[in-house]
């Protein structure tokens, strides 16, 4: 609120570079006084809430060429970071290969927000609901750092693994494997489909729609014909906690058969491993328990089918 301002009001200047490197240089120049903005929907909420002061310089990424469009390349769907959530949702290549991401997008915010909000913006918040899905899908990010480009697994980038994430980095593109593991969106539920691959995504909020997540879980995996878990990727997030994979649970599942005993073990493992957020709206115990419940129930359904 206004009374927290102690200086004469300054209003942001807006820069609209066409090239990614130009955007990056502007950020280097202005530093903390500048903010990358694509849709701006989350940022404007934070400025209005007083969580963050509005920046002196807005570096709009909306016109940056490199961040536009969705391309299906060899082995990947390459999604420009400036592509809006709504465009992602209606894109054919993503519908074919990025079903889990689309499922996540459908539960983010509301229609009008999704026309402005971008996939890059959702990821760069570090707590966006697309992230658990992308982690389970084994997605990578193409990062712009000056003139250089490099790819990094989304998990490493979110968790800030050594050197993975620097303050001036721009997310350029999101790379989703267009492989056997990728699955089209057919139903919002777990089912063995498409060469024994399965996937699931679940978001629990404080109401049915338009809510920050209390708990978000996602999973992608493959069962062999005789019911042995060949591949499994599980992720969880919610609240202010950075989303993460669940390596211990994955390890326990890998190479094993689903059984009630296994599900019990997985439940315990997730409960003890997952570092859940604690805030006014849900405690970490609740988040851990709900995450464990959701993941094991999805595996149970798989077991039964």
């Amino acid at each position: 609120m206004a009374m927290e301002m102690t200086n004469a009001p300054k209003y942001p200047e807006v820069w609209q570079p066409a090239a990614a490197e130009e955007a990056w240089l502007l950020k280097r120049k202005w530093g903390e006084a500048a903010c990358y903005v694509s849709g701006g929907t989350l940022l404007r909420t934070q400025w209005e809430n007083g969580v963050k002061p509005p920046p002196l310089h807005i570096i709009s990424l909306e016109s940056v060429h490199e961040l536009q469009g969705v391309q299906l390349t060899e082995g990947h769907v390459s999604v420009g970071a400036a592509v809006t959530l709504n465009e992602c949702r209606s894109n054919g290549a993503l519908q074919r290969y990025g079903g889990l991401l689309i499922e996540a997008i459908e539960q983010i915010a509301a229609p009008s927000i999704r026309y402005l909000a971008t996939i890059g913006g959702n990821i760069s918040s570090l707590v966006g609901d697309s992230i658990p899905a992308l982690m389970a899908m084994d997605a990578k990010l193409l990062i712009v750092r000056g003139p250089a480009r490099h790819t990094v697994p989304i998990r490493d980038w979110v968790q800030g693994a050594e050197g993975a994430r620097e303050p001036d980095d721009i997310i350029g593109r999101v790379l989703i494997p267009a492989s056997a593991s990728a699955s089209p969106l057919t139903e919002h539920d777990i089912h063995a489909q498409h060469d024994e691959w399965f996937q699931f995504y679940e978001k629990v909020g404080r109401r049915e729609a338009f809510t920050p997540s209390l708990v978000t879980i996602a999973g992608v995996g493959r069962l062999s014909e005789d019911g042995v878990m060949q591949e499994i990727r599980l992720s969880a997030g919610g609240g202010a906690a950075l989303p993460d994979r669940l390596p211990e649970a994955e390890k326990a599942l890998s190479g094993s058969r689903l059984s009630e005993a296994m599900l019990s073990l997985i439940h315990q493992t997730i409960n003890s491993q997952y570092r859940a957020a604690e805030d006014l709206f849900a405690g970490s115990e609740y988040r851990k328990e709900a995450s464990a419940n959701l993941i094991t129930s999805r595996l149970w359904k798989l077991m039964k089918s």
Binding site: Y11, P12, E13, V14, Q16, G40, T41, R44, T45, E48, N49, P54, I58, S60, E62, N86, E106, A109, A110, P111, S112, I113, Y115, L116, A209, F210
Partner: protein, 154 residues
């Protein structure tokens, strides 16, 4: 700082204003252009009272900044009824889809956007399309009935 010229088409007419580039569209509409049909309520995109159409798509005017709407075609609630009440507005009158009316302009703009995309929406589609529009008066019953009425008559 007000050296940014914002030019857009608002309800079919060209509008040109000297503004701050990051000024929100809501302020431009209500205070510069006197179009107070678009309402201000939460100011952070969580209630939908400020929804307008930008190039035919519903957006929260409290979130969209001047530079993001420059050169675009904006339609507000006033534009929808310029030639007489739209069938969505008629349906709201018929079914009591409003009470205090403050959420109504944003709600109707969302309904219009929904019907433009999905002329005969299912209940689930209606609920998804209006998930970003809060109403405190109606409990949404009259709104659902109004939208169903529109869908049925398409």
């Amino acid at each position: 700082m007000m050296d940014y010229i914002w030019k857009a088409t608002v309800n079919g007419q060209t509008a040109e204003l000297r503004v701050r580039p990051a000024e929100r569209l809501l302020t431009l509409l209500r205070e510069e252009l006197g179009l107070t049909g678009t309402k201000v309520s939460c100011e952070l995109g969580r209630c939908g009272a400020c929804i307008v159409h930008m190039d035919g798509k519903p957006v929260n005017a409290c979130l969209v900044m001047a530079y993001q709407s420059n050169g675009k075609a904006i339609t507000t609630i006033e534009g929808l009824s310029a030639g007489g009440l739209h069938k969505v507005q008629e349906a709201f009158l018929e079914e009591g889809g409003f009470q205090c009316g403050y959420c109504t302009p944003g709600m109707i703009m969302s309904v219009k956007a929904l019907l433009d995309e999905t002329p005969c929406p299912t209940t689930d589609q209606i609920k998804e399309g209006l998930a970003g529009n809060l109403c405190r008066c109606t409990g949404y019953g009259g709104i659902l009935r109004a939208v169903r009425r529109c869908g049925a008559s398409t």
